[in-house]
């Protein structure tokens, strides 16, 4: 079709010119080829990368959170375990201490009882010995006293009391214990 500027021969604008269809189609086909080969794959690759970056980041964050939670739980469990263990050890120690104390006390009491027993036995032995000794001495003294009383004339009271006084003063000089003397003496 010829495009003349003459107004009288103007072609209808709705009738396409063949060369324009061909050029339009070829130009668009080439554009399509470039977009299909270069632009679109690059954009899609970037979209994939971006989705990956965003979702990957979220996933990584979630994983880190989970790991941290797990670790925290682990630590808490461990702490609880340790606390329980410490309490158990303390209880054990206390019980053991009490036991030891009780044992020691029992031992000490036993020891004390033994010492007391020995002391008592010693005392008893000493007393026996003393009383045995005293008895011998008293019997001797009694005999002496009796001889002296019988030797003197026991006529008056003054003389008798004098005699007793003399005896007693002798006893005093001999032995500080007084209670032993009257036991063997006459009344």
């Amino acid at each position: 079709m010829h495009s003349l500027i003459l107004a009288a021969e103007e072609p209808l604008p709705v009738l396409p010119v063949t060369s324009e269809i061909i050029v339009g189609a070829v130009a668009f086909a080439l554009l399509l080829g470039v977009l299909w080969k270069f632009a679109v794959p690059r954009f899609e690759a970037m979209y994939t990368q971006r989705t990956d970056a965003i979702e990957g980041g979220l996933t990584r964050a979630r994983e880190a959170q989970e790991a941290a939670d797990q670790l925290k739980k682990q630590y808490e469990d461990q702490m609880a375990d340790l606390r329980a263990q410490a309490a158990r050890i303390r209880d054990d120690a206390r019980a053991e201490g009490q036991q030891i104390k009780a044992e020691l006390r029992a031992q000490a009491e036993e020891e004390a009882a033994r010492i007391r027993l020995r002391g008592e036995e010693q005392l008893a032995a000493q007393r026996d010995q003393v009383s045995r000794q005293l008895r011998g001495e008293i019997s001797g003294l009694s005999v002496q006293l009796a001889e002296r009383i019988i030797g003197n004339a026991l006529s008056d009271d003054a003389r008798r009391s004098d005699t007793i006084d003399t005896f007693l003063s002798e006893l005093d000089g001999l032995e500080p214990r007084r209670d032993a003397a009257p036991a063997g003496g006459p009344s």
């Binding site: 604008p13 010119v17 324009e20 269809i21 339009g24 668009f28 554009l31 690759a45």
Partner: protein, 261 residues
């Protein structure tokens, strides 16, 4: 060129409104005219733009990547994914992106100084694009449903009583194999044609009024202002038409590959 033509006409001192002549350019050489050069140029510009911007795409976009990505996102998500859906929409992203950008740039040529001609007002170009869409969406249908299966899918929408198909099938055929692609081409052509005609009309009128002198010259700025106002309106129409063209292509493909009506 058209201005010069108009000037010559105006020499007769009779106002002749611009007509079809405004859309006809003399060949530069052979059959190559200004619109043909512009169409080729637009393809080069768009291809260059997307090749350059997609060279270093970062996960966190910079400013220029953000612009390219927004544009790509409209074609990919708003049109291809929402209309075609499934996983197969990715196959048609280059087509939708190409249609949207190609029609948009060629339309916008109409208000860009020096170009000042919407190439889509030459019907040959929309027809070429509509042919692409035609081939693609029927190919998509045949590929998805098989030869007989696609005809059954396209011409016999389920849910109608058997005798109604006598009426429905021819209508569906007419609709899908003739009317839709033809309307697709004519829609953008008519919008660009009318828009350009209006712009030229007011520009030529302003010039005529100014040259006439006297009281008429007072009206010239008014005509000029209207021309500028229409330029803004045209910018809007150009974007919308490009959007509609690409969106409808996606809708056709979506209908062709849909599982059921």
């Amino acid at each position: 060129m058209s201005a010069m033509v108009a000037e010559e006409i105006l020499a007769a001192e009779e106002f002749v409104p611009p007509g079809v002549g405004s859309f006809i350019y003399p060949p530069i050489f052979g059959e190559v005219t200004k619109p043909i050069v512009m169409v080729v140029l637009s393809a080069v510009i768009i291809a260059g733009y997307f090749v350059v911007t997609s060279r270093r795409l970062a996960v966190v976009p910079g400013r220029s990547q953000f612009v390219a990505e927004s544009f790509y996102g409209i074609a990919r998500n708003t049109m291809a994914r929402d209309q075609i859906g499934g996983t197969e929409f990715l196959r048609y992203v280059p087509l939708i992106l190409g249609l949207f950008s190609f029609v948009l740039v060629n339309n916008l040529f109409g208000i860009i100084p020096l170009f000042q001609f919407p190439t889509m007002s030459r019907i040959g170009f929309p027809v070429a694009l509509a042919l692409f869409v035609y081939v693609f969406y029927h190919y998509a249908g045949f590929r998805k449903h098989g030869f007989v299966g696609y005809f059954k899918h396209a011409l016999f929408p389920p849910g109608a009583p058997a005798f109604v198909y006598v009426i429905i099938a021819p209508i569906e055929f007419l609709q899908k194999f003739i009317v839709q692609p033809v309307a697709l081409a004519i829609r953008v052509f008519a919008a660009m044609f009318a828009g350009h005609l209006i712009l030229v009309l007011f520009a030529v009128a302003a010039e005529f009024l100014l040259l006439q002198g006297g009281l008429l010259a007072v009206a010239a700025p008014l005509s000029f202002i209207v021309a500028i106002a229409f330029t803004f309106l045209e910018a809007l129409v150009m974007v919308i038409q490009a959007y509609i063209f690409a969106l409808l292509a996606a809708v056709f493909i979506g209908a062709a590959v849909s599982e059921e009506h």
